[in-house]
């Protein structure tokens, strides 16, 4: 999995590409969120447009990060989900947990 990070005011935008799967991408997601919080960026927007696959460990890590960020008084949102990633979130009802956006400007405005 590859990642890039940029800040938009107090919002950290984290772009992910490749696979968010067990033993690799899932750990990286945790590290990126941990770094954001260390940098005092509690509002995090994941751009998943380049993500080709995510397994239950990757989903679990996203959920754990959501819980961690929320407990710290921040928000974690998602954007640019592919139809298949959307399906994966939907079948486990997680589409009701995360705020999901197709447009970055709209996503940034909703923090």
């Amino acid at each position: 999995m590859k990642s890039s990070v940029r800040d938009h005011g107090d919002i950290r935008v984290i772009e992910l590409s490749g696979k968010i799967t067990i033993g690799g991408g899932d750990v990286k997601v945790r590290e990126l969120v941990s770094q954001a919080l260390d940098d005092d960026k509690k509002n995090i927007l994941f751009d998943l447009g380049g993500v080709t696959a995510i397994d239950s460990s990757g989903i679990g890590e996203m959920v754990a990060c959501y819980t961690t960020v929320t407990k710290r008084g921040g928000q974690l949102k998602l954007m640019h989900l592919s139809p298949k990633i959307t399906d994966i979130l939907q079948v486990t009802q997680l589409i009701t947990v995360f705020d999901v956006f197709d447009d970055e400007r709209e996503a940034l405005g909703r923090f």
């Binding site: 067990i22 397994d55 239950s56 679990g60 079948v91 486990t92 997680l94």
Partner: protein, 148 residues
């Protein structure tokens, strides 16, 4: 009209997460030979990855001395995948429903649920020699393309 197809493969993998990629590559090759649709291939790979990950992590506790056996068969318009571990076994009924509101924010417990969502049938059976075997079947879409 789908012709009968007879493709199969067997893998024996050390219990390392990176070997999930090996299992995936074999399945992708079989899917191409069986002329699966892109969607079929995607969901088959998704279910396979969950089964192998579970075997590595929960079954064999990532002990590289224990193996995961994966058997693939394409026959009569269905793909059957069997994944076996050498662990102590478990009762699938003990796995809580991840879609239950009280479980939604749990960081784990979705692997078997995904397997059941993306395959037509999933059955768990304890192995006589120890460990678990999961057999997953996905019926393939009817197509006018002659399958090999």
């Amino acid at each position: 009209m789908v012709n009968n197809t007879n493709l199969s493969a067997d893998l024996v993998l050390a219990s390392r997460f990176e070997n999930i990629e090996v299992a995936e590559r074999v399945l992708v090759d079989l899917c191409k030979r069986a002329r699966c649709s892109e969607d079929e291939e995607y969901w088959l790979v998704t279910a396979l990855r969950e089964a192998v990950a579970n075997a590595v992590r929960h079954g064999n506790k990532q002990d590289p001395g224990r193996v995961v056996r994966v058997t693939y068969a394409v026959e009569n318009s269905a793909i059957t995948i069997r994944v076996e571990d050498e662990g102590t076994g478990f009762d699938p009924a003990d796995i809580p429903d991840p879609t239950d509101p009280e479980n939604l924010l749990r960081p784990n417990g979705r692997g078997i649920f995904y397997m059941r969502q993306f395959m037509t049938r999933v059955e768990f059976t304890p192995r006589p020699e120890g460990g678990m075997a999961v057999v997953m079947v996905r019926d393939l879409e009817a197509t006018d393309i002659d399958r090999p």
